[in-house]
Symmetry: C2
Subunit: 418 residues, 2 copies
């Protein structure tokens, strides 16, 4: 951390610095683990007991943490077990996907209070989308019993680039979402802090806080859906790159002579295997193969067919759709092998809408990684499937509000280069 | 840093921690910049003057820094300008390459005192190589006028994996270098600390300390030579991955139907464009094209031809060799585009033996990156060619001794996962 501080406005190396550092250490310990008393915290953090007592009392007084239970421990006074205080704040998270809007409300401890989901399509006008966001927020507030003024922030997960510090967004896969000032639009409507970030990165944040990345130092999350990206965690921090655009595995080339991609290049992973590419190829199946089950699951409409219908047909035994998923899995597997070769992670977590109920694809992905990846690096990585389901990025968007609004968990998000 | 500390043996958040942190901050400032007085250091580091005076006096007394000059500044006493004290220690660095052994001796300030170079080939027996290392060390000591006991450490740069904590090494590209305990062999001979690390990573370390990565937070170094790798710097630290195997861009797949690679896979970047792949293809040119200049520069011996002879022939106008380099540049360019898409670096530094006197290759690489890389990420990266020349990895190996032996510049090397 400190080299960065030398460049910008370096923090004073004094008592107040120590205090904030030690406070963050205690909060982070309580976030990562349950069931700690003050004595446990002192042992775990290697801070002296007096320091821990002072900081804990301060955090209790401010309402950031609470006593979750009391443990009788022999003769003495029962030990107070501490935890983050959920009711300290509530935060909404909304994931803008190519096929869905997903929303959650979480509390300061990260627990999910409400969740809701709306089907959309990637050709929607930004204004329509904004109306749907507000509608979704209404559903979430209703489900949770909260009012707008109960929320401390809204996080937005967007599948593309955040193109300005004002939170405008653009995406290759959403033709009408170019330089849309989404942060400002929501800020004007709700008048609370709005955070906007890339959906793969927020998926990784959700895994880091509550998923298979919990308590791990480094891992990669493959975000497979309408588009393809990855979230990268290094030393427990979300790695953003120099301008917040890291992890574009979907637009890495694996075949210079491959199909045209939405980014203008040829043979990117996305051009073979993204949700949008599967829809493209599914149209061909419907047109050319009258015996394909996709005509049933896809409603016999080439234009409207989506990747969920392909997965369903493949699961029902359709050979054309199964072949399509197998081929997609091969290219995703190559892209993820390359990812592993670059980062040498200890864990790869595969998630996103494309892998829900999709054993055929998962098998093709892991098979390709196992046969394609350099064995010396493959031996270091454990490959696993996310358990957070469809809502991971929305959850991550909510968590990003906590991280940004409270500025207490300073290790979680890598600062942008100034 | 601190989350890592929570896991292992966390540092105490107390005065001694503050002191070592502030000491490192001052040393790092003096390493990165020249011409600082005590007052400048206090401003730059945002530490209070008394803290800076205490630490500076301590470092002067221990001989780690010295007064490099005095600046008269108006009426008062002249300001003392401080710098690292080169004579505090001397360190050797040796790069074991597929075509060369390169060695340097540097001082604590990183200045090069001596350098030497021997041609080798990648089929050499480990024992022969050890003898050549000792011979090269003799040359370096002679040139510098130093004795063995003047050295505080030897750093070894190896183009492959360090396979054990005891410093054994293996490489795909050097058939006889499998699990060779190089650290122990040199330790037995010299009885001083021996550091062993990957050559691409050490090249990045040299760029970070003295090259085009100086004072930059994040960058990638493409190490193009007999093999191909990359060194990755994130937040001024060398990124190692979970087991010290990061940056294997040479073994990322860009064409599943491509040539067989030394790693056992097909269509890796190396299989098209590494020094060894160019030698392979150069043999075909010699055999099939009697009119090729390579028959002259390569000594008309298909078996012994190397990539330097290919570069020379191309520079003399040989169309076959020029086409070979153009094709190699295209594949390297794709691999580096992919690298940029993953890391979103602010700078890409291209270095290694393959780009020395090789404008044809460089032009093909940059042309491909410019046409292939996603434009939104391309706009963030500045592409530049290293100025450190052939000896960069050897220099980095010497620097790694300073980093490891003194344990003072703690931000430079990312700790391994425990």
């Amino acid at each position: 951390m400190w080299v960065q501080e030398v460049d910008n406005m370096p923090e004073k190396g004094d008592q107040s610095y120590l205090r904030s550092r030690n406070t963050a250490r205690i909060l982070e310990s309580l976030r990562q683990n349950e069931g700690f008393s003050r004595i446990d915290l002192a042992e775990l953090t290697n801070l002296d007991k007096k320091t821990v007592l002072n900081i804990v009392n301060d955090l209790l007084a401010k309402g950031l943490i609470r006593v979750t239970s009391r443990q009788a421990d022999g003769a003495g006074r029962p030990k107070e077990i501490l935890g983050l205080n959920g009711s300290y704040g509530r935060y909404a998270g909304i994931d803008l996907g190519g096929t869905h809007l997903s929303g959650v409300i979480i509390d300061f401890a990260g627990e999910c209070i409400a969740s809701s989901d709306i089907e959309v399509h990637n050709g929607m006008e930004p204004d329509t989308l904004m109306k749907l966001c507000v509608y979704l927020m209404g559903n979430l507030l209703k489900e949770s019993g909260l009012k707008e003024y109960d929320l401390s922030g809204i996080g937005i997960s967007f599948p593309g680039f955040v193109t300005s510090s004002q939170g405008s967004v653009s995406s290759e896969n959403f033709p009408k979402w170019q330089n849309i000032p989404i942060q400002k639009m929501l800020q004007d409507r709700y008048n609370i802090p709005i955070c906007v970030d890339d959906s793969s990165r927020l998926m990784a944040l959700a895994e880091l806080w509550f998923g298979k990345g919990r308590n791990r130092r480094d891992f990669i999350v493959a975000d497979l859906g309408f588009g393809i990206g990855c979230g990268i965690v290094i030393d427990r921090k979300i790695f953003r790159g120099s301008a917040g655009k890291s992890g574009e595995v979907g637009h890495t080339t694996v075949d210079v002579n491959g199909p045209l991609c939405t980014c203008g290049s040829h043979g990117c992973i996305e051009s073979f295997a993204a949700g949008w590419a599967l829809s493209r190829d599914a149209q061909i199946i419907i047109r050319e193969h009258p015996d394909s089950l996709l005509r049933e699951t896809g409603g016999n409409s080439p234009e409207g067919v989506n990747f969920r219908q392909v997965i369903l047909a493949a699961n029902l035994g359709d050979p054309y759709c199964a072949a399509l998923l197998n081929n997609a899995g091969k290219y995703i597997g190559i892209g993820l092998s390359n990812t592993i070769s670059f980062f040498n992670p200890s864990r790869l977590i595969i998630g996103g809408r494309l892998v829900q109920n999709n054993e055929i694809l998962l098998k093709a992905i892991t098979g390709t990684i196992n046969s394609n990846c350099m064995k010396q690096i493959l031996e270091d990585v454990e490959i696993t499937v996310s358990e957070l389901g469809d809502g991971a990025s929305a959850w991550g968007a909510g968590i990003s509000c906590i991280v940004n609004a409270e500025n207490l968990f300073f290790a979680t998000l890598q600062k942008k280069e100034s």
